[in-house]
Symmetry: C2
Subunit: 467 residues, 2 copies
């Protein structure tokens, strides 16, 4: 295949070398052959899918600082080595582990000692209840305004139940997530202000199921930290219904989660050296850590594969990038972003020029376009290239792109991008035990890998983000 591509390019080049200098259109004709070849390679290789199977089966539950995470780092290091880039190395960062402890026990108290067990998971970073647990009446709210209106008189000594659903009417579920996430991230401290003793949080997913979806929460200060626990959307509906008929309904919560001392861990990094401008670096990555409930397949094992497969696809098609491609598999996106911070600090210290930061952290759905945080001129420059990606259903160019980890490069003036996958199913898996390899579609992984390779190829060749 590689030979065929090269020959075809030579033939094209021979016929059109004069015009090519003057015409983006003709140059793009040649590129469309390269991109077709990248897609063909991706769609006929199970490399990324197989690596993801290995990662998720041998190293599930990769919360930063955990044994699973350490195993994942070893596996990814070896997988990158096998792709035979110019270099593979580890970049240290101090992980701040949090341990779930024993399985949470959360139930609705019924008369005569009966109970309805709820599907519950402590939120990441939460304190535990202590071994005895706690029980109290529950007050349901959907906003901080509602909470404030209730005030200490109605909240003190109770459990605050945040039950704002992700709005299904929003076309992009990510928007619904963004609007509802405050309950999880900041709800505990806000409730504690009014004397609440714990919070229950409706899981952030856009369907009704019995998976609790965890995720990070933060305390505004360390003086009044109360336990915070996610319950499944199914259970949130159930609890809400019961509270309507009995506002004195009590719930029991027992969690033994806790934070542990910092331990050294690592980003895993690989580089394919650039031919013309090796000092300019295309950073592309996903995060190697995951929540502890699932296998971290959609979030974000598949993002690591999207980045890693760019190396395979470039090498397989004999593409020599102008710039250095640096695959960065970030430690700890989920909690404190210590990996991303260490990477950005290193870039700054060394005065490296990062041409672009590309991140894949939205799951393994089929790609539909790109997000871009860049200047209007850079966006327009990229838009002019996008026509040749239409045969691959890559139409959308959204203003705003990148991700949490490459976001730390923004203060250094780095434009950031991401491939946009179909967003509709992502939150089914997100931060839950449902995020398993079984829920990964091989073809969609392949399409994601191809889209990332095509993106890197085009923005490198056409100096889309500056010379």
């Amino acid at each position: 295949m590689r030979k065929l591509v090269v020959l075809t390019l030579i033939a094209f080049g021979f016929c059109s070398c004069y015009a090519q200098e003057n015409s983006l259109a003709i140059s793009l004709q040649n590129d469309s052959i390269v991109i077709a070849s990248l897609y063909k390679s991706a769609l006929t290789s199970s490399g990324g899918y197989d690596n993801l199977r290995e990662l998720t089966s041998k190293a599930p539950h990769r919360l930063a600082g955990s044994e699973g995470c350490a195993n994942g780092i070893k596996i990814l290091f070896n997988q990158l080595k096998a792709l035979n880039p110019d270099t593979v190395y580890l970049q240290p960062a101090m992980a701040l582990p949090w341990l779930r402890g024993e399985k949470e026990v959360v139930y609705i108290e019924l008369p005569k000692g009966k109970r309805i067990l709820l599907h519950a998971s402590a939120l990441g970073g939460s304190v535990g209840t202590g071994l005895k647990g706690l029980a109290a009446e529950v007050v349901e709210v959907k906003s901080f305004e509602e909470l404030k209106a209730l005030g200490e008189a109605n909240v003190k000594g109770k459990i605050v139940f945040y039950n704002l659903a992700m709005d299904p009417a929003l076309f992009n579920p990510g928007e619904g997530y963004g609007r509802a996430a405050f309950q999880r991230t900041a709800g505990a401290s806000e409730a504690a202000k009014y004397g609440a003793i714990a919070t229950l949080v409706r899981s952030l997913t856009n369907r009704i199921d019995t998976f609790p979806h965890t995720g990070v929460m933060r305390y505004a200060d360390t003086t009044n930290m109360i336990p915070s626990v996610a319950i499944s959307t199914f259970d949130a509906e159930l609890l809400s219904t019961r509270l309507k008929s009995d506002p004195t309904q009590r719930v029991f919560i027992r969690t033994t989660c806790k934070s542990l001392p910092a331990v050294v861990s690592y980003n895993v990094i690989a580089e394919l050296k650039g031919g013309e401008k090796p000092e300019e670096i295309i950073t592309i990555g996903g995060h190697l850590d995951s929540w502890d409930l699932g296998e971290g397949a959609h979030d974000d094992g598949v993002g690591c594969m999207h980045a890693m497969e760019v190396i395979r696809l470039f090498k397989q098609n004999g593409i020599q990038p102008k710039r250095t491609i640096r695959v960065v598999l970030f430690l700890d996106e989920e909690t404190h972003q210590v990996g991303a911070k260490a990477y950005a600090a290193s870039v700054k210290d060394k005065g490296e020029k990062i041409y672009v930061g590309i991140e894949s952290d939205s799951g393994g759905g089929a790609p539909k376009g790109f997000g871009m945080s860049a200047s209007p001129a850079q966006m327009e420059s990229f838009r002019q290239l996008m026509g040749i990606l239409a045969p691959y259903d890559l139409y959308q160019l959204r203003n705003g792109g990148g991700g949490v980890d490459v976001g730390f490069l923004k203060p250094l003036g780095v434009p950031t991008m991401n491939v946009l996958p179909s967003p509709h199913r992502y939150f089914y898996y997100h931060h839950s035990a449902f995020d398993t390899f079984k829920e990964i579609d091989m073809r969609e992984v392949q399409l994601g890998c191809a889209a990332h390779a095509a993106l890197v190829y085009l923005i490198d060749k056409y100096d889309t983000l500056g010379s």
Copy 2:
């Protein structure tokens, strides 16, 4: 919601009534509010999903002329009635039933009477082997050219095994399907020419699994009809591997399928009368029949829902179409298209003007655009409207659209269209026992219903396909 939309439209209309007459852009601003409302209605209603659950659970296996099909017709008739359109009626057509009979027995013969059972399904329309079955050596081919080159000397008395895979390198799996379908549709008669006694056909799906995928086959003539059976892709790989080490490998096949006398059955039709041009008819439909192996969820229960929900969404949003919307749930797309032929004949006899034929028969994936078989001017006219659909990821406009059933309207000069769903997973389900309600995603059904409603709304309002 309806009130809000109406008020907002009045407000918009008041501010812009002058400009609106002169500017498509401003008119489309108003339309974008209507379309947002259609999407909101669809994304917060489980109506189509619930109807699909009822159809697939109470009336799976809806092969034309079967009891399942008759049950499906009753259910769909009642579901349409409940949507309260202006009229619901049945249109008779003669179904030509084919019966699978007993579960097929197909195995690789091993020494000492041992066997490897294969996952197999007779192809629709095939004759059976007789109760005793048959056994013979197997010769594998991937094209009619290969078969011809082998000739009678190598084929006579044997089973021809067609093993051309759907090419995974093609971005659109439908294209791979199209290129490989000849094996299933015409392979038996071609093999019979050279004296083959039966054919095995690799299932037409783009992944390796253990589901046999059936589908229609036709005999070129009735003088030499040999049995034709699909085996799963997994088994096709297995058989191919064994044949490489032992070309004398024998396979046993026993099928008891047969064709039955014609019986009367029906298309199910509902109409919402147009306000301005009731004599012009927007035909929109899916097919109510399905293969007998699965529940006919993706193929094509969901297509029926896409069409039916247009009625609900229009009524819910107080939209009065200019033209009559006629939902046609076609009988027998899968085998002889007797429903589509009866419908087209009726249209012709009555001299009805069909403004457009829209068909949904590509599964329940999230929509990505439209296919259109129309004049260049009509396509350009539609393209100008598409901008307001970009927020819903509806970007693509493909030259060529419609479907098998509305295709019978083409000779009457009717333009045909379809919504294009994501194509990547459709063939996992297609014509197999895997096509169940469990594999349907509610949100993707909702998105499909909204896209169909938006399409009908726009092409009706803007006279896209002629006055």
